[in-house]
Assembly symmetry: C2
Homo-oligomer: 912 residues x 2
């Protein structure tokens, strides 16, 4: 049987279904599903994503079989709708829309009103008795078609401001000006008819081609243009950010037009089955009388509230759909209930009311904030609509970040003057400098600045700038506008529909009342309350546990996860925050940071510049009391929880390099050490390395200068002894860094055990401690079986493992990594997301080999991947006992670990 390219839906029947998004795209699959459910959907058909793939494989040629299939499906649509495409009396008009597997809002092209032409216009006028509507639809068709099909899809490159669409808009503005009106709606049928003729002339003059007057030609042009838009610049950029593969392709949905702009008994709207910002179980939406759907989404007109639950201070005076057309509203509520029950998830829907009749144009899983994701999941689970595991899988681990987001200090907010209020589209607090274009946002961000992007409204062209910004503020648009949708998807602070703003992009300033705020001025935003302030307000850390739904879902997650989550911290304050966020120990306490304080670095430098062991030992031992105090602090903060302390790691040059630029400091040190400044200079220079990353660091230091290891081991063990005396439980795990051979580890372990024996003898107290190593050198993974004979635990330093495994210096990767990502050589930055395919093999291998010689070997990860959800899941799968990450990533890691346990349960829980 030949491959089926086209799937019909409509009239209570459908060839596709919701489970076919890969083939039909999300929109097509769900239209089919709705049709099958008996929900009123305008009839139509979906051309599969496979056709898109074929289209690109065959350099822009569509498969031969397609034409016949489209004709057949079109005939069925005509029959269902009782109209005929291209018919002079009762013409069917259709929309042509994209629809990828995963929603890419606004990133691809759409053509509406296809089928309007000189021969169908009179019939439609007669049928609707509304010539103004018909010509308005026609001018919209010409505008979209010229832009999307005749210019963009044809690959015509135009300079900024030279595009055909802009020219057509200017023509329309000119006509309004000539007529002395300001609104599109003030142009009458006659005006629009003239405008359509003018449009067609401009199209011909600009593009050298005539606007097609044949419905079938329009239809095929639209279909091809949608396929073509899959590889448009915007779509590609969006796919990069979202990690959507290029190979997926888009489907094309051809659907009967229904009109929300047919007059005052028509309307259009979008809604969420629950509140997408808070997750509250209340029907939530917006609508506009006499409008097409794009008008709501584009945020050009601020829409009306759907119902009482959607009303705000700003729009409570406007009639809701519930109030205006209660019967239609009730029909819509029924659809809402059907959909939630059927899909068992919060839906994002689009509807049109044509002459009082309700049509559903789309349903899809609704994007939501992290707050909403958690609340919806918990409430659905508690009402037994879904089970707990499903609830956990419903929240992306990264979304928890919102709970950890800082917020504006409420006390400061109370005192501050509220500049303006808008709709709270993305929660949390944000502070930044104001910029007015997406490009500026990106450029400033690259310079390390925090910016707030202020726009009248945003469009898909702004996505890169929105991504760069701390927060987004728009003057227009509602809770379902482009800005709101995108910001919510990213968990970004966002306020929309802030009508008080008067933005002058050319002057790079915004005025509110009389107050003018210029580019670069500081602004603060409370995205949860929709409040804007002109100053940098103080920001408070997050307190996630205050949210009952968060608390609940984290309890569920903790109950199911099989690996522990620790934190990377060396300051007691940070450790305390991490414990608050659920850390079960410290996976990495770096000791070198402790040496940079002024009083300490002096001894550190003396140590480094020593001429012989005796001198060096003397200097090192001066550091002992400091180190001991550090460890007492951190062990106390983590009482009863394991603490992994890494011995000195960085090359010594890091501690003395700055002396070369600071002659005074150098001279002081020379005096103190009683040596000539020149000698110090020479010694410092001799410590310079060509590739310090691969130089004299890690355990190579402890082997060359065993007294350093001795001092550190003593500090750890004396601190542990002192606290043990005070009945505080201490579980130190001493970690030897940068081990590549068993003998290196043996050398260091022998010193540590010797010191431990000395300390135990002196204090008559024996503390429990473990000695292990970081696996961060590829060779260590290869000989992990040998190393595990000596190591009691492994901690994967995946940062260095990635550096050495890939041969990428993290400090220099900026030279080529952006090119690699752009050219799709790498799927992601391997320093952010663990390269499971390559570097992951080393981790997996080391765990297996290590446990082949030490069955109970404790394994963890302390590289920065330990807080990245995909990497956490990998760690679960390869059998690690714990992951360790920065305090603010701890909840995310806990949650990702739970998802991993649901996706791939392990035989034995390794929790300790």
């Amino acid at each position: 049987m030949a491959k089926k390219n086209v799937y019909f839906f409509g009239g209570g029947k459908a060839e596709g279904k919701a489970s076919m998004p890969n083939l039909l795209g999300g929109k097509g699959a769900n239209l089919a599903e709705m049709a099958s459910l008996g929900i009123p959907v305008p009839a139509g058909f979906t051309i599969t994503t496979e056709v898109c793939t074929e289209y690109y494989a065959n350099k822009g040629k569509l498969p031969k079989a397609l034409e016949a299939e489209v004709k057949q499906a079109l005939a069925r649509v005509e029959k269902t709708m009782g109209k005929k495409f291209g018919d002079v009396k009762n013409p069917l008009l259709v929309s042509v829309r994209s629809g990828a597997r995963k929603s890419m809002p606004g990133m691809m092209e759409t053509v509406l009103n296809v089928g309007l032409c000189s021969k169908t216009i009179p019939g439609l006028i007669e049928k609707t008795n509304n010539p103004r509507f018909v010509f308005d639809s026609y001018r919209r068709l010409i505008m979209m078609y010229a832009d999307v099909v005749m210019e963009k899809a044809a690959g015509i490159e135009v300079a900024e401001g030279q595009g055909v669409r802009l020219k057509l808009e200017h023509a329309m503005e000119a006509m309004k000006h000539a007529k002395g009106v300001t609104q599109d709606t003030e142009l009458d049928a006659h005006d629009l008819k003239i405008l359509c003729d003018a449009f067609k002339k401009i199209v011909r003059d600009t593009l050298g081609k005539t606007f097609p007057d044949d419905p079938m030609e329009q239809l095929w042009g639209g279909i091809k243009a949608v396929f073509q838009s899959w590889n448009g610049k915007r779509a590609i950029a969006y796919r990069r950010i979202e990690g959507i593969p290029d190979e997926w392709g888009t489907a094309v949905n051809v659907q009967s037009m229904v009109f929300g702009n047919l007059g005052d008994t028509s309307a259009t709207g979008v809604a969420f089955t629950r509140n997408p910002a808070t997750g509250e179980n209340a029907f939530y939406g917006e609508w506009l009388v006499n409008a097409q759907g794009e008008d709501v989404v584009a945020g050009i007109r601020t829409p009306s509230p759907l119902n009482k639950a959607t009303k705000t201070e700003d729009n409570k005076h406007i009639k809701s759909l519930e109030e205006a057309w209660p019967k239609t509203y009730k029909a819509l509520v029924n659809v809402r209930n059907t959909l939630e029950k059927h899909y068992k998830d919060m839906q994002d829907i689009e509807f049109t009311i044509e002459d009082g009749l309700l049509y559903m144009l789309q349903t899809r899983t609704g994007k939501r904030t992290g707050f909403a994701a958690v609340r919806v999941a918990v409430e659905m689970a508690e009402s037994k609509l879904i089970d707990k595991n499903t609830a956990i899988m419903r929240v992306r681990p990264e979304q928890l970040d919102e709970f950890l987001h800082p917020m504006l200090d409420p006390a400061a907010e109370k005192k501050a003057h509220v500049l303006a209020k808008g709709l709270p589209a993305g929660p949390g607090g944000a502070v930044g400098q104001v910029v007015f274009t997406a490009d500026d946002a990106q450029a400033w961000k690259e310079k390390g600045k925090k910016v707030i992007l202020v726009r009248n409204e945003t469009s898909p062209e702004d996505v890169h700038g929105m991504h760069a910004a701390e927060a987004i503020l728009t003057a227009k648009g509602g809770m379902t506008s482009h800005a709101a949708l995108v910001a919510r998807g990213w968990g970004k602070c966002c306020i929309v529909g802030c009508g008080a703003l008067n933005i002058d992009v050319a002057k790079k300033q915004v005025s509110v009342g009389g107050q003018v705020i210029k580019e670069g001025e500081w602004m603060s935003m409370n995205g949860s309350a929709g409040k804007v302030y002109v100053s940098a307000l103080p920001v408070l850390p997050a307190n996630p546990e205050a949210n009952k739904w968060y608390k609940r879902i984290m309890q569920w997650a903790d109950a199911i996860r099989q690996i522990n989550v620790r934190t990377n911290a060396e300051r007691p304050e940070d450790a305390a925050i991490a414990v608050k966020f659920g850390a079960e120990g410290i996976g990495l306490a770096r000791t070198e940071h402790m040496f940079f304080q002024p009083e300490r670095i002096l001894y550190m430098r003396q140590m480094i510049l020593s001429q012989n062991e005796a001198e060096r030992r003397k200097a090192v031992m001066k550091l002992l009391p400091f180190q001991k105090a550090d460890f007492i602090g951190i062990f106390k903060a983590m009482a009863g929880k394991p603490v992994t302390v890494r011995l000195l790691d960085p090359p010594l040059h890091e501690f003395v390099g700055s002396l070369l630029e600071d002659p005074e400091e150098l001279n002081n040190l020379a005096k103190l050490c009683k040596v000539a400044p020149e000698d110090i200079r020479t010694r410092v220079e001799s410590l310079h390395e060509f590739n310090p990353m691969l130089g004299h660091r890690g355990c190579r230091l402890g082997i060359a200068y065993p007294e350093i290891t001795e001092m550190q081991a003593r500090a750890i063990l004396e601190a542990a002894t002192e606290l043990t005396k005070k009945k505080i439980k201490v579980l130190p795990e001493i970690m030897v860094p940068l081990v590549g051979t068993k003998k290196e580890l043996e050398h260091q372990v022998a010193i540590i055990h010797q010191v431990a024996a000395d300390v135990a003898k002196q204090s008559k107290i024996k503390v429990n401690y473990m000695v292990g190593t970081m696996i961060e050198i590829p060779r260590a993974a290869l000989v992990a079986d040998q190393i595990a004979q000596t190591a009691e635990f492994f901690s994967f330093g995946t940062n260095d493992l990635t550096q050495m495994g890939f041969g990428y210096s993290r400090d220099d990767v900026g030279g080529f990594l952006p090119i690699y990502l752009q050219k799709d050589i790498l799927p992601a930055d391997p320093f952010q997301i663990l390269d499971q395919e390559g570097i992951g093999q080393l981790v997996d291998m080391a765990v297996q080999r290590g446990r082949s010689t030490r069955a109970m070997l404790k394994c963890g990860i302390c590289g920065e991947h330990g807080g990245e959800p995909n990497s956490v899941k990998f760690c679960h799968r390869v059998g690690l006992n714990y992951v360790s990450c920065s305090p603010f990533r701890v909840p995310i890691a806990r949650f990702a670990a739970a998802q991993a346990a649901i996706e791939t349960p392990r035989k034995a829980a390794k929790k300790k």
Copy 2:
């Protein structure tokens, strides 16, 4: 059954045999073997190496069972020799000597004449009727024992010049001075008796202990001292150089003394069954009348020739053993023949003639020069004593280096004045600056200087300096002296017994006749002829094929080896030398070296400093004709042989970094590029990397700047096309460097194929070429299966693989590698000898995984390990098709490959 600790030999019987060197040490095993063969060997016994291991494991305690076993064996020795240890009438004296698995000449301790004491002295005087001999033996015993047992083995550290031995020597000198004599032999029995008393007093005063007067106490002191000397400084240093494991331990041989110093019918000598310098099949040795064995080896008296074959210009007037005592000589020749026939290899033997009776004290495989090793092996194989494979296994691949050694230009030698002549102890020519101490030799070498070490004689304390020197020249000693033995073992140029030298170490000068040569002056040596010149003579490259034995054994080796040997070269001259040495292709032609010539670097820099692709392409294309000419040269030199060309590899900073130090050059470039010098400076600085080794280099350049790859591919393919037109066979293999992911390679391969298609279209000639990659990044080995889908060949860049696999920067490893070797953390420098255990896994894995997706994948190695014999053998074992190394290592690699094929034959020969 309890473990046997002691093995008896003597009287035609032995408990041990030659095949037990691991247990008995080389010396003990061979003494046993000789005894079994009926060769006259003074009876004795061997304490096993296992006892040594136990001795160290138990912190210096000997196993309990040992005492009884030693007593039992001693009784058997007494019975065999008809004397009794400690007997007052007919006392047995014994020697106590070390004996490791592998000979470590002079590195451990020996005590002779053990058993002499106040109660045995009178009996021995009566028995020998030679009181002078007895007291001379006694003073030797005291001297050795005090030094070796009472001082060194007791762990007493003494300052330079404060050792007990030196004090005893001073006492002896003082007595000679008082008596007005110069030679030891001029002291009579009475003098020596007094001296012995004086010695004992000095020993007591210096060491606070009395010299033991009990034979058994002496014996056990000697045994322990030998075990102790296994961990002496010299022994450890030697083991490091020779790669002998610390765990092996030494055996102890206790053997009846026989005396070569019993008068004029006694003598001692050492001999080789063939000439150890040339390999000539002639009995070769030296002897001394009335002397103990150490006198010959120490080189204090220049010995007499053994026979006619051993006579030289300098000693032809001295009576040979053959002439002096023809009967004894004949007995010795019989022993020689027996031993060679039995051992089937050239032997190094020691003998003593006591009162006309011949005793053999040692036989072992004789150390030999590379020249000798090859000739002996070939001649033994041709005479059917051994087979060809055995012959090949008899030569260490590194020994072939001698054939490749340069020699002094004979024409220049003819004209030059010969300063002095000595014995040609180590072949080849050498030129260097004169130094007079081992420490100076090492220090100068570390500064990059070439030195010749000039000494009166060398001792084991000089080993580090001898290793550092280009050549060794001694005033004393014969062909079997310490200097000669050690130099021969290393294939180093060496002249000994150069009596004309008057060396003044204090003044750091040597005079010959009236001519004074000071430290730092240049000297040239012809080690094959024994000639010394005072000037730096020109040196000629080697011509190994002129040696018929070399030619023969290399033919045998080439016939058996299963992998090919290529060379790393980019200049046609070097390629030609390599072909002469047997290279079968080029495994690595680096293209970056070609860009450093003045006319080229200009374009290279323009390319690097280009602002955009168009500019860059223009600059790059200017390099095309140069590159093409380079490839034509190298392809011609290698006509018919494969040539692997690596695309640009180093970071761009290498080409422009020097501009920052050369403002003039920078300004010139700025003018040429029409940009501000400051802009160039900024760009150059922006190219600086923290870890350039892990930075923007290799294929990362070709991906960022595809035009570079295009140009290089075009140069290669146009060159190949041009030569193909001229009927010259060209086999280019284009190698993409630093690949870590399949997509990187795909990106570059697509460019290369595109260029190839273009060139083929333009020229209408299709050249065969391959495209492959270097496996030098650990990740590449891990995903080799994927990479092999695109790569037609792999070439292992084990230098970088070692750098990244170990995390060692080759440029910075000096900071810790010496410490690692000294502390035995690493067995060897992994950049010299491939770390088979760790990095080797990556190679093995990559070969297997690569061939899992491309069965016929060609695999080779182009890192510097490709010329290191152990690494070559590894390459054979893991199934590589070829190794590639520097031209001068090619014969060594060919030979190592043959040995590998003998040791581990592969199923299928992969030669292509």
